[in-house]
């Protein structure tokens, strides 16, 4: 059977599965729509959180980035997992005990202020839209390569599926669909990794193959890669080029940003007890770990394979006429380009003047099974896995957007008297509109989608994280301090990113290390934004009115588990 038919069958079967689950798990109340009725088991919640968390970026882009960045790619590995420790230890249990639906709920009630609530709503919506546009784009890319339809059609099909289960099922539908999507995506990620690990090192476990010798030689894979890198004029694979300061700042910004992302935090409101909130962060990280420890192995295998196939076994370059099929396939999409600079009719890939190849980092995971000449069903599976990763994250984000509008903005702010039924109707309407906007952004991506990902994490790190931490651990933090801190952190972070990246305006300075503050790139500036938030919040709270006694009592009461009821509106 040819690849395209197989891909249609496998992707189609997964879509039927998701829709079947959606019909089974319809939401009947806002309680079910927002937090799945609060009755999800910690194991299922952990799995759903993992699928929610691992986006098109984790599935498609990350191993490719690591493959090209080597050691520098560690910022994503540590950054996007370490945040779960912060979540489990410092946030999730307390927010669960607090027992509301959303992050703006917590900020608004803890800081007894509609201003604080509004700032939080704006942040939540901004962060989520930035993120979701990238997911829809990911679906489009996969469709266009494997099903050979245009990106537009791909995005529309993806929108239709998400529309169906997000609008119908709310958090309940999304949670159970995400459990299925996790299974699809992790299977799709591991199968090619195991095959390739076996082929290169003879060890079936990619995490071990990563540290093994290349089959038939005494050379360790990583030593071989370091050797190839030196020979071809790249930085050492195990060393990288970023400064230590920058690696530190980016890792911290991603960790803290993870712990402050509203679509991740809201997952911990869906479990019945505080105890379950703690352990579901643990389950989530186990499920995430499986992919995140495999990714760097894939990165190293892919780099080795790619250099070998492009430059040939004798490292003189491969004749264009003898180019492997995967190079031809991906050249059609424009994601691989070859320019025969020295006119010898051969392709050559290196990090210096001899280089003739332009290779898009995003294709490594998708092309990997083709590079390793794996059977067609594995390639089709990878396509289904990439779509599962993109859809599960998109659905979680759309829910945050619709909840922010129907619950935080309408119910808690503009029209407090609406009935539960009306609110549910507004939530569904908002989800539908959000999907349209996301789809539009996926088809017409603003030129800066890649840049704004850093934005989303930086913003979450500089706004939500300090406000929530202080809200739990520092009883004396008042509304004036929290609002001033969030605004200062946000303005600083947005300002710094815009200054170098020039979103909406032309950049005001070249985005190079020499110009950066303390050598910290815009990707890592959220760490400094967070510190600015903490400092401003402390300073302002010292000179303004004290926190009312009843709010201090609330803080006391979230610090121990006993008496945690279901998440509720009042």
């Amino acid at each position: 059977m040819d690849l395209q038919t197989l891909t249609y069958i496998i992707v189609g079967a997964t879509f039927l599965l998701y829709i079947g689950i959606a019909v089974w798990a319809r939401a009947g109340s806002t309680h079910e729509f927002y937090v799945a009725g609060g009755g999800v088991s910690p194991l299922a919640n952990g799995m759903a959180t993992a699928a929610d968390w691992m986006s098109a970026a984790s599935f498609i882009s990350m191993a490719g980035l690591i493959s090209f960045m080597g050691y520098d790619g560690s910022v994503y590995l540590m950054g996007w997992t370490g945040g779960y420790v912060l979540l489990a230890l410092c946030l999730a249990p307390y927010l669960r005990k607090f027992g509301k639906f959303t992050v703006p709920d917590f900020i608004g009630d803890r800081y007894y202020s509609q201003t604080a609530r509004t700032v939080a709503v704006v942040c939540a919506i901004l962060v989520s839209f930035v993120y979701v546009a990238g997911q829809m784009r990911g679906v489009g890319v996969v469709f266009s390569r494997f099903l050979e339809v245009d990106i537009e059609t791909g995005v529309v099909v993806g929108m239709a599926v998400v529309f169906f289960y997000a609008v119908l099922g709310g958090m309940k539908g999304i949670t159970y669909t995400q459990v299925a999507q996790y299974c699809v995506l992790i299977f799709a990620y591991l199968v090619p990794a195991i095959f390739i690990s076996l082929m290169i090192t003879g060890n079936p476990i990619p995490q071990f193959g990563f540290g093994s010798t290349i089959e038939g030689t005494d050379t360790y894979l990583l030593d071989k890669l370091d050797g190839l890198s030196t020979e071809l004029g790249f930085a050492l694979y195990t060393d990288g080029t970023k400064s230590m300061m920058d690696v530190f700042a980016i890792t911290a910004a991603l960790m803290v940003g993870t712990a402050g992302l509203p679509h991740v935090i809201v997952r911990f409101f869906t479990v019945p007890r505080v105890k379950d909130a703690r352990i579901s962060a643990g389950w989530a990280l186990i499920f995430i770990m499986i992919l995140y420890t495999t990714a760097p192995s894939i990165g190293a295998f892919a780099r080795y394979n790619m250099i070998n196939t492009l430059n040939g076994p004798d490292h003189q370059g491969t004749l264009v006429s003898e180019a492997p099929q995967w190079v031809k396939n991906w050249e059609k999409t424009g994601l691989i380009k070859h320019e025969d600079k020295n006119g010898d009719g051969r392709m050559f890939y290196s990090g210096d003047a001899r280089n003739e190849m332009t290779i898009d980092r995003d294709i490594m995971v998708l092309a990997n099974p083709e590079i390793a000449q794996l059977p067609n069903w594995v390639i089709a599976l990878v396509a289904a896995g990439a779509i599962a990763a993109a859809l599960s994250t998109a659905a979680g984000l759309l829910l945050v957007i619709s909840t922010s509008i129907s619950h935080d903005l309408l119910k808690r702010n503009l029209m407090p008297n609406i009935s539960d039924k009306m609110e549910l109707r507004y939530a569904r309407g908002a989800a539908a509109v959000a999907i349209m906007v996301a789809g539009y952004l996926g088809i017409n991506p603003p030129g800066f989608v890649a840049e704004v990902v850093a934005f989303a994490f930086g913003l979450a790190a500089a706004s939500f994280f300090p406000a929530i931490i202080l809200g739990i651990f520092y009883k004396k933090m008042n509304k004036e301090g929290a609002v001033a801190g969030m605004l200062a952190g946000m303005v600083f972070t947005i300002g710094y990113i815009v200054y170098f990246k020039g979103i909406f305006i032309t950049p005001m300075a070249a985005n190079v290390p020499a110009n950066w503050f303390l050598g910290i790139s815009p990707e890592g500036i959220g760490t400094v934004g967070m510190l600015v938030n903490f400092i401003v919040a402390f300073a302002v709270s010292k000179v303004t009115k004290e926190v009312p006694a009843e709010v201090q009592d609330i803080v006391e009461s979230i610090r121990f588990p006993k008496g945690a009821g279901a998440a509720s509106t009042h």
Partner: protein
């Protein structure tokens, strides 16, 4: 108030925060410490086919993160029992 006295409440909170800080110290040590600040020193050590610092940055830190969360869960459940603030 679920606690018998406010002394009990602050004792529970003190133990909770001290456990959290200890675990966060390990969290910091394996990622920012071994994986970033001291990566060059540790890279002098060979660990199977890895340089040790590189292994911490791309593998080891993640395994330790998972362990930390499970240790926290077990210890906190014990603490909740001890102060009788656990859930039904």
């Amino acid at each position: 108030m679920a606690f018998q006295s406010s002394e009990q409440a602050s004792a529970y909170w003190r133990e909770n925060v001290s456990l959290m800080l200890k675990l966060l110290a390990i969290w910091f040590a394996v990622s920012f410490g071994a994986g970033i600040l001291f990566v060059d020193v540790l890279n002098a050590v060979q660990f199977f086919g890895f340089k040790l610092g590189f292994w911490f940055a791309q593998q080891g830190s993640i395994y330790v993160f998972v362990l930390l969360i499970f240790v926290y869960v077990v210890k906190m459940n014990q603490l909740d029992q001890k102060y009788n603030v656990h859930e039904e």
